[in-house]
């Protein structure tokens, strides 16, 4: 009987341990934290704090932060911003993976990383109004309100001397899709 209890206890310990390790999957770091940055548990995030799968990063007023994900995707969050990494799968060997990030509010600049480089379709950003996909580039999302989001394509211009290939962003409101191909151009999505 004691053996039986021991195995039941062991089973639960292992099970909970697995769930915990799944929920605490390390996906990146807070590479710069200026001001007041917190996660969903109101834990203060500082320079070098680890980011785990499913974490919400909340940047308070007069604060900003940079998030470095394992595939070298970089998110720069302006003040009063909130982002959730809904999905992050990455194999550093093959560079395969998928990122789904949800920008809940605020201003977020994104520099795409290895996942997008390997397969642009595997980077998806959802915004309060609409979604976007990006191909090898840098862009800013301004989630103005629940009904309005603005996307500005940054990235290299046509006269860049670095041999960089201009990327593009496809923005969708669920009904129509618009491609932004010229740096500096923007698209405003409303619900």
């Amino acid at each position: 009987m004691n053996y039986f209890r021991f195995f039941i206890l062991l089973f639960f310990l292992l099970t909970f341990n697995n769930v915990n390790s799944f929920a605490k999957e390390f996906i990146g770091i807070i590479s710069a934290a200026i001001g007041n940055i917190e996660n969903q548990d109101s834990t203060k995030l500082t320079n070098g704090s680890k980011i785990y799968f499913g974490d919400t990063i909340i940047v308070k007023e007069k604060s900003n932060a940079q998030v470095l994900l394992l595939d070298e995707t970089v998110l720069t969050l302006g003040e009063d911003s909130e982002v959730i990494i809904d999905e992050f799968i990455y194999d550093p060997q093959s560079k395969d993976g998928k990122i789904v990030s949800n920008i809940l509010r605020g201003t977020v600049k994104v520099i795409t990383g290895e996942i997008s480089k390997k397969n642009p379709d595997n980077l998806e950003i959802t915004m309060p109004a609409g979604t976007l996909g990006a191909r090898g580039t840098e862009f800013v999302v301004v989630a103005d309100s629940k009904d309005k989001s603005t996307v500005v394509l940054l990235g290299p211009g046509p006269n860049n001397t670095l041999g960089m290939i201009p990327g593009n962003v496809e923005v969708s409101d669920g009904k129509n899709t618009i491609g932004i191909v010229i740096p500096g151009h923007q698209s405003i999505i409303t619900n």
Binding site: L162, M164, N191
Partner: protein, 449 residues
């Protein structure tokens, strides 16, 4: 001691030491520590390490990584002007005007910016102003290829008979029913955004149509239009003028010119009312083959009003009523027609495109009897038109095209249309089906301006 000094002197003279020293420096260069991304994850704030990493990434051509690193250092060490200058130099090489401007504005406001840095900024600013101002002009060309299958290209009546001078005759035996026609088209649009709410554009087009079996519908068509668009509060107004000149291989030629407007009033997010009006004048060419072609000359007045309602964000309902009046040189060519169109549009899942289903009922009353056809029966038609259209980006239905068509500028449309005309004259009681597949490639020339 003397022995030791002599030994060193001899060693310096010898090639062995030279080779050793060369190998030492070479190995130092070869095995210089390469900073890994893992090290950066572990030390994101280490200024020395991260600056070296930024430099290494720059040398490796990984500029995005360089920018991200420098931006991080700039956030962490805002008083360090050298980092700002380094980042600015990369952004300049990157030709990212919008970011350069933002950075310059911030640097000029920053009390930590040194005089040396300000001098550098002045140089950058003057170089940028020397560049041409961003143009408000836009231009693009559409290259299209379409094929239409027509079940009744010679408009043979349902009873295969026709009235000629009060006599009911059979259609000619060589009349063509099924045929295919192919149209190659090119159109060029150039325009200018006058301000944030208005734009003007010029469009020029040329279409060449050839037929597979017959040649009755073969033609080329030159056309042009000028339009102006203006957003005024909840109104979106679009007045336009146009000119078209078909050159038919067999049928008589004509030219048509017109003027019109369309206005959409956005009641709210889901409801919209659109109305339009137009006037056109068509003049046929009289020549040895067509001595009475000018009897078809006409002036057309057209108007319609439509209501658009979004059932859901992906479903739209669009009823429309229309009225047209055609005043022709010969009254029997003039007519009055009106009707109702019901349209339903749905955005297909997975961004496959748009499906539009449309049904139209049209009634047409000709102004007079055509004595060449029938002296006693006037022409009155009732027409039912059904149409289904799927349109979208080609790379959405053929994903492998994403490699070629990266910016999604290749469009397709598949249209099925059936017209069923019931007329008081057997000649015009005609049923026809059309199936058209069209591919369009858009070439964007905005970067030329």
């Amino acid at each position: 001691m003397q022995h030791s000094l002599l030994f060193i002197k001899n060693l310096l003279k010898s090639n062995i030491l030279k080779v050793f020293l060369f190998l030492f420096f070479l190995s130092s260069a070869l095995f210089a520590e390469e900073i890994t991304f893992k090290q950066i994850l572990e030390n994101p704030t280490d200024i020395e390490l991260n600056l070296k990493y930024a430099k290494q990434q720059e040398q490796a051509g990984k500029y995005k990584s360089t920018i991200a690193t420098l931006e991080r250092l700039n956030m962490l060490y805002p008083a360090n002007t050298d980092i700002k200058i380094y980042l600015l130099s990369i952004l300049l090489k990157m030709d990212s005007e919008i970011r350069v401007q933002l950075m310059i504005e911030r640097m000029l406001k920053d009390p930590n910016t040194t005089d040396e840095a300000k001098e550098y900024i002045n140089k950058v600013t003057s170089t940028m102003y020397a560049k041409k101002k961003q143009s408000n002009w836009f231009a693009y060309a559409d290259l299209s290829l379409s094929q239409t299958e027509n079940s009744n290209i010679d408009a043979v009546s349902r009873s295969s008979s026709l009235w000629v001078q009060d006599q009911k005759l059979a259609f000619a035996a060589d009349s063509v029913t099924y045929d295919k026609s192919m149209t190659r088209g090119v159109s060029f649009t150039i325009g200018k955004n006058l301000d944030n709410t208005s734009a003007v554009s010029l469009n020029l087009g040329f279409d060449l149509t050839t037929q597979r079996y017959g040649d009755g519908d073969e033609s080329d068509l030159a056309s042009g239009s000028i339009s102006y668009s203006k957003s005024l509060g909840k109104h979106f107004l679009l007045p336009y003028v146009y000119y078209s000149r078909p050159n038919n291989r067999l049928a008589n030629d004509y030219n048509s010119r017109g003027i019109g407007f369309n206005n959409s009033y956005f009641i709210n997010k889901k409801n919209r009312i659109s109305y339009s009006g137009g006037y056109s004048s068509t003049a046929y060419d009289n020549n040895n083959n067509f001595t009475t072609a000018n009897k078809q000359n006409n002036e057309t007045y057209s108007t319609n009003i439509a209501y658009s309602y979004d059932l859901t964000p992906k479903d739209n309902l669009n009823p429309k009523i229309f009225y047209n009046k055609v005043i022709a040189n010969a009254d029997y060519n003039g007519n009055e027609n009106f009707g109702l169109t019901l349209a339903y549009a749905r955005v297909l899942p997975f961004e496959l495109g748009l499906l539009r289903l449309e049904s139209t009922y049209k009634k047409k009353q000709h102004d007079d009897r055509d004595s060449f056809v029938n002296t006693t029966i006037g022409r009155q038609d009732q027409e039912i038109i059904g149409q289904a259209l799927i349109t979208g980006r080609l790379n959405r239905i053929l994903p492998f095209l994403k490699k070629i068509d990266k910016n999604g500028s290749l469009f397709h449309s598949l249209k099925y249309r059936k017209t069923d005309v019931d007329s008081t004259l057997v000649t015009n009681t005609v049923e026809t089906e059309y199936l058209t597949y069209k591919i369009t490639k858009r070439l964007n020339f905005n970067e030329l301006f």
